[in-house]
Symmetry: C2
Subunit: 726 residues, 2 copies
Amino acid sequence: MTETLLAPLDAAHDAFAALFHPSSVAVIGASDNPNKVGGRPIHYMRAFGYMGEILPVNPARDVIQGLPAYAGVADLVACGKTPEAAIVAVSGDATLEQVRLCAEAGVKAAVIMASGFAETGAKGRERQQELVRVANAGGMRLVGPNAQGTANFAAGAVLNFSTMFMEVAPQDGPIAIISQSGAASVMPYALLRQAGHGVRYLVATGNDADLDACAIAAAVAADPDVRLLLVYLETISNPDALARAAAIARARGASIVAIKAGNSARGAQAAASHTGALVGNDAAIDAFLVAHGIWRAGDIGELLRAVPLYLQDHAPGAGRTVVMSHSGAVGVMAADLAERHGLPLAALRDDTLRALGAILPEFGTANNPLDMTAALLGKGDMFPRVLEALGADPAADMVMVGIPVAGPGYDVEALARDAAAFSAGHRKPLVASAPQQSVREVFVRHGVPTFVTEADAVAALAQYAAHRERMARVTRVTRVMASSAVPAALPLAGNGLQDEARSLALLAEAGVPTVPHRLCGSASEAGAAFEALRASSAGAAVVVKGCAASVPHKSEHGLVHLRLTTRVESEAAARACLDTLRKLEVREPRIVVAQMVKGRHEFALGVSVDPMFGPLVMIGEGGTLLELRKDIVTLLAPFTVDDVRAACARLRVAPLFTGYRDVPALDLDALASAAVALGNWALRHRHAVRSVDINPLMLMAAGEGVIAVDAVVQLQDAKTQEAETP
Amino acid sequence: MTETLLAPLDAAHDAFAALFHPSSVAVIGASDNPNKVGGRPIHYMRAFGYMGEILPVNPARDVIQGLPAYAGVADLVACGKTPEAAIVAVSGDATLEQVRLCAEAGVKAAVIMASGFAETGAKGRERQQELVRVANAGGMRLVGPNAQGTANFAAGAVLNFSTMFMEVAPQDGPIAIISQSGAASVMPYALLRQAGHGVRYLVATGNDADLDACAIAAAVAADPDVRLLLVYLETISNPDALARAAAIARARGASIVAIKAGNSARGAQAAASHTGALVGNDAAIDAFLVAHGIWRAGDIGELLRAVPLYLQDHAPGAGRTVVMSHSGAVGVMAADLAERHGLPLAALRDDTLRALGAILPEFGTANNPLDMTAALLGKGDMFPRVLEALGADPAADMVMVGIPVAGPGYDVEALARDAAAFSAGHRKPLVASAPQQSVREVFVRHGVPTFVTEADAVAALAQYAAHRERMARVTRVTRVMASSAVPAALPLAGNGLQDEARSLALLAEAGVPTVPHRLCGSASEAGAAFEALRASSAGAAVVVKGCAASVPHKSEHGLVHLRLTTRVESEAAARACLDTLRKLEVREPRIVVAQMVKGRHEFALGVSVDPMFGPLVMIGEGGTLLELRKDIVTLLAPFTVDDVRAACARLRVAPLFTGYRDVPALDLDALASAAVALGNWALRHRHAVRSVDINPLMLMAAGEGVIAVDAVVQLQDAKTQEAETP
């Protein structure tokens, strides 16, 4: 990992310092009333220990919340008190002027709270752009507009007007919350604080006009005390910055969990061909987050589920989990849930089983889930001895202790103490689940990650182990800045949909094996092509197809003639195709004569170039029902053959790769090579290519390769290519 | 619904009365120590208001917990105090004798707490059977052994030794918890009580030797105060009783939510053919629960999720939900979540939108999710007026109010009061979500179902609406006692796997259209068959296949010859098949000559007869990749064509039924008729049939039918058929 990639945005470095560690903060539109937007930040900074200077600005008052007030930014400057940061809490109409004054005065960063900008339409967007232009011209950076603001509770620097901090008191801690929405920033905050976790940064960025959520995530990711970033996004405004945030966090072993809510319209527009439509923008986002080791949560509950495990930070190994309880039902349910979440149950070693049998004679055929009746009932030192045996077993990575009930006879204090000691000693994750509030409190007090139900406990363990494994896999520098790591994008001749011959030629250039074929302009040329293909293919049949960019759906027009075995048939088919194409008003009608390829199974391979994330490659079962069966996986380019192998293992038809019934193993290596080649080609030409749709891609038996039999490439318009090519 | 079906089990009626409303309870093995198994029930009954007589039995003491103790059951009888119910809390070895004494004395029901019976193996199972035999011989019914016991908190009748009631005090309420596991009974109890809900019945049945969990569910379902039954099962020991419980509950509008944990080995044994293996026992359980309107929860959290909605009992209509919040993010997330859970968002009527616009001018293009900033900030009477407008809209069935943050300026009390008034007035479900504990408390106090996250709120609404819709669909009496509603089961000639000709004959008898074919013993017969089939099919090609019950996988042995168009070819194929079969040591080798049928798409239709639930019919996409693609739905026989249509709409390939791309709409009517016919036939012959595997079932265009092209029927062994046929 190079220095450059891990450094925060240099240009914005001063701005982040000004926001999170300001020596002074002007509050423009300051209010004496702590329940008003212009009053709350002053109240918070005074209440939460801010040590810098608070400079209220309000022309109507001399004193605000006990502090001397200033009539305007000019007065501050005149007094030699140029603020490092500013909160602009005036109305939308008055905002631009105040931003100008701040920028001219040398303020480094400002939080703009007013709404009425891009979120209201085109005119608001113009006003917003003007705001940024004016600020940046003076060297000032903005958060917002329409922002609830920033907060660094370690410094008491609360440039934020949420009422939540009135209700739920802050406390510094190892968590950062970065959100485009104010509500989505304070919901996890409230839940974390109610659970006793500390939060250092809480930032709600609003319209993301200048310093956006992704850039701020990259900035706070560099704080060595931050162990976990929780991010809420409605649009990934700045993928490179988010990738940088992920790289910075990963380099320190810190984790990012993100909600990406809603669906982006931009991604949908990008999906032109039917393969593209399948892939969709949400698949691109998924692939992007996977590629950068960010865990995607579906809701606020999932965002927070594994927090105590992240903070405890024990290595989850391969995630092989031991479930123990004094209830058979908890074991059964936990086993069901583990399967549902893909969490492997540990297969304990024989010597571990013998050790357990010695501690708990009634075990006999001790197995996982372990029934711990006696040990959990606190008979002597059985519980710590059982834990010790598990700690010594390299096949046991994590432990879940289910305590469905405790009462007289249970030494909950001792159980919690032993559980915590195990986890600390062996540095293996251990969680507890208990429906009784009183039981959970004891475990939480001992620092054990504790859940209400075994379902939550299992889900948290599964997420934690899978996320850490994913982070470990994301090691290649190419992943960090994929789009800048490849050579400059190249334009390609042509516009829009390409005909089959051109599409196949482009794919061959990309390195995807294509069907032997000839492009012909007449029936006699088709006849000659038939002879040539027959000669080179030991007599395989041929296919004759009409070839015109304007007629991509050939079958519907009777433009596909299969299994032709004579020259006469081939010429007749060619004539029929040419006639049809002329009727369809194709100017220079042509045909493709191709070898008839019999594959073992039809797959499909496609690309959809997402304007935000670049080429997304789709691999799956092909044929006409592709879009119904939806047995596909997607990968963001660039990727390796190993990535393809891992992804293809998730296909429903994956058993075909190892041989299924009468069908021999298919050539996964060749499929993976073709996919990698296609992804790299699409990345090089990412401003030129819109989509690629190869269906079918015939898969042969292992060692015999793959062949693209039918393909449509769609290019960007030449103008777009030109404009976007760097 | 007939009287008979809804009546509780008459034979056990007295036993249930004795368990839940006993005039007296003997505690055999009574202890003075309330922390011992034999002491706890006494302590509980005294603490929780039991008004009947508690009769401690312990030969070593005169007084137990302040009550006069008796030396044995005989002493009780001698004193004229024959108990109505008994708790047998002695060791496993001593249990049988005490059960015998109780039964002889005329005790009506006993809870057997000792373990060491069927759960320990074959010998324990024998001891358990003896226990039941001895009890029943004296007219006594048992709960257990290995049972934590029963409790009716309305009567203080706690024949239950869980420590949980020491920790979390009971309170009567409209919920019943019935569980085969002690732990799984007290976990939901603790969570419900901590959330303020009352629980009337709590029963943990243990080994289910006599009165089992299903029978007890049917008994408590008849209590008119019970609105919700929560059931935990590891095996559905008594499907008829559970079906009866569901019918009794449905007749009163009460609901059942059940966890079925683990997988049953019996179901797996029943799945012999590959279709059967796909269906599996868990699919049978799903189908059974669906058929009886029981909601299946995956874990304890899901079991409890929608409890407040069930208890409030407002009709969810079509589930069309209005989401309102003062946060755009909550609206976006709720919309995402609604889609994930299949919850429809309401399309508000134009006049509703106009009314909303008049109340909240900034709405403009007011839409669902509704952004309620001003209204939720308590400006005047906006919130109740908005609710009023929604209440008047018949397109709005349910409402979710998301309150991500509240503080100064929010009148939470008024919001909660207005929300509660809306729900009470319009009888429409309304839920709130709020991360702040303080906010939730206010809503809960006003009786509004309240959740921590919008994810939980949406999931609960979705479950409640879908469950109520399912309950409404389950109206046919056949569903209640499916297995007794059809004519007596008929034996079928034959054993095990049937050859293709016999299989097709059985299917034709069942009413499934089968391919025209002839069974032949020689090449010349095959030649004649070719001529006959050609003549009747206007010259279609034929298929020649080897036909032997012992060789079900014909392709693997080269026993399938397709697309034959001459008599000579057909005879040659027949000779080849006969030779191969002879080499495979088939005694009387035969061939099937069948018309070559070209369908529009290959489906599969199968049956697996579950020993517990009867015939489970599988419908899905066919072909050799059936088991990989797993695009199947399952239905428990009997069912209607409408049931098939609804189920098939869930297939990934469902668009084929309305026409997809070049393929015309397929004949769903014919598929549904074939499935219904097959299901009814399998039900009539449920003791004779093990499985049916039709693959492919060729689907033609709408109006052109379906044809079973290849089929294997597997019958039970003749002995089994005999033994099981009533």
